[in-house]
């Protein structure tokens, strides 16, 4: 069996490999190691629910996490898919407010859970930490801006055109249902929009896969 010290060393090394902590001193890392916990989740498990008070800061180390809100008809509004390594919902911590959305694992994954009050007191003033935090926050602002642009300013077909323009050939293997959720559409509407774009000659489909025939034409549809 390994001793506490060995655990500590392992954790310190793991922490050092995370962008947010890469510039911390050895002393800081050891202190940090004492306030974090590694947790594993299975596909489908919930990390936290919308409205839950937040006193933990989460960093996604492995797996894919979906952040979503639920509307009046119990439909999911997907805000974001998180891929490792990301800070999750740090805004809630910083403002001491409940989590604004639900986070659900889409694959098996691992989370680094940090005791937030202590982290705030001892690490938030650190320039590298705050700089990385700023980067993460602005990235999230960009995502939300984009959701607003896409979902409030564009109609169904324009949203699909934008998606194709931005995600190109990646969409091949992605389930239509998932694309529909990302775009805030029903699968039926998505299908009809794909058809319109096909008729315009901007894409063609061989079987299940799309080929983009006219990328600039797609852009025309949403801008």
């Amino acid at each position: 069996m390994v001793s506490t010290n060995q655990f500590e060393t392992l954790m310190v090394n793991r922490l050092k490999s995370i962008f947010l902590f890469s510039h911390l001193s050895e002393t800081d890392l050891i202190h940090l190691a004492s306030i974090v916990k590694l947790r594993s989740f299975n596909n489908g498990e919930i990390l936290f629910y919308e409205g839950t008070p937040s006193d933990k800061l989460y960093i996604l180390l492995d797996g894919v996490l979906k952040g979503y809100k639920t509307d009046m008809k119990e439909n999911e509004i997907v805000l974001h898919y998180f891929y490792p390594v990301s800070l999750v919902a740090e805004m809630a911590n910083l403002h001491h407010i409940p989590f604004p959305a639900t986070a659900e694992f889409q694959t098996d994954g691992n989370i680094l859970e940090i005791d937030y009050p202590i982290f705030e007191r001892d690490f938030l003033k650190n320039p590298t930490v705050s700089f990385e935090l700023i980067k993460s926050l602005t990235q999230k602002l960009k995502y939300l801006e984009d959701i607003i642009t896409t979902r409030l300013a564009l109609d169904a077909t324009s949203r699909v055109a934008k998606f194709l323009y931005e995600n190109g050939d990646i969409s091949d293997s992605t389930k239509r249902h998932k694309i529909a959720t990302i775009l805030g559409l029903t699968p039926e509407t998505l299908s009809r929009s794909f058809k319109k774009i096909k008729i315009l000659g901007l894409i063609s489909d061989e079987g299940k896969n799309f080929t983009i025939l006219n990328r600039e034409g797609l852009k025309e549809l949403f801008s």
Copy 2:
């Protein structure tokens, strides 16, 4: 006529009174004063347009500024009303991307314009500056989250109920048209929603002013 030094002193004092810079050293303030410019705007003037490259950081000192995007039918999607003292669109600067929205003055006002590249190089690492920046960014994230919750997850009547719940009696003098814009509704729909809520007995109107009769009832409508 005042000398350069007197101008500098005036500017330094003005800067010191801004939360973001209140903890800077005298040396820093003098340096900062050399990269800022004070600009006045009239009601209706545009500070920047959506899509314009951003190399200035703006701080709103006086007046009210409206941030909005434009949808496919040329409708405004109001993202935010800025009141002094606020950072404006810092996200664009931090990520070196074009402004994501248009900013238009709703009253006469004053802006402090900062040369961003120099500011980033010389001030962004300052712990107080970055801390205030984090606060401002998280505040904006909250606004955007709220827009998404309101505009994507709630129907018209629920949005109005939420607005009444959160803004209470303030709405008295506010033009219906402005409320409608904030909620992303047409004045007609807003009027019909008010009527529904009136029939439910949650509010009453004497002439132009509303009285909230059942605040908890309002909450029930949107949660």
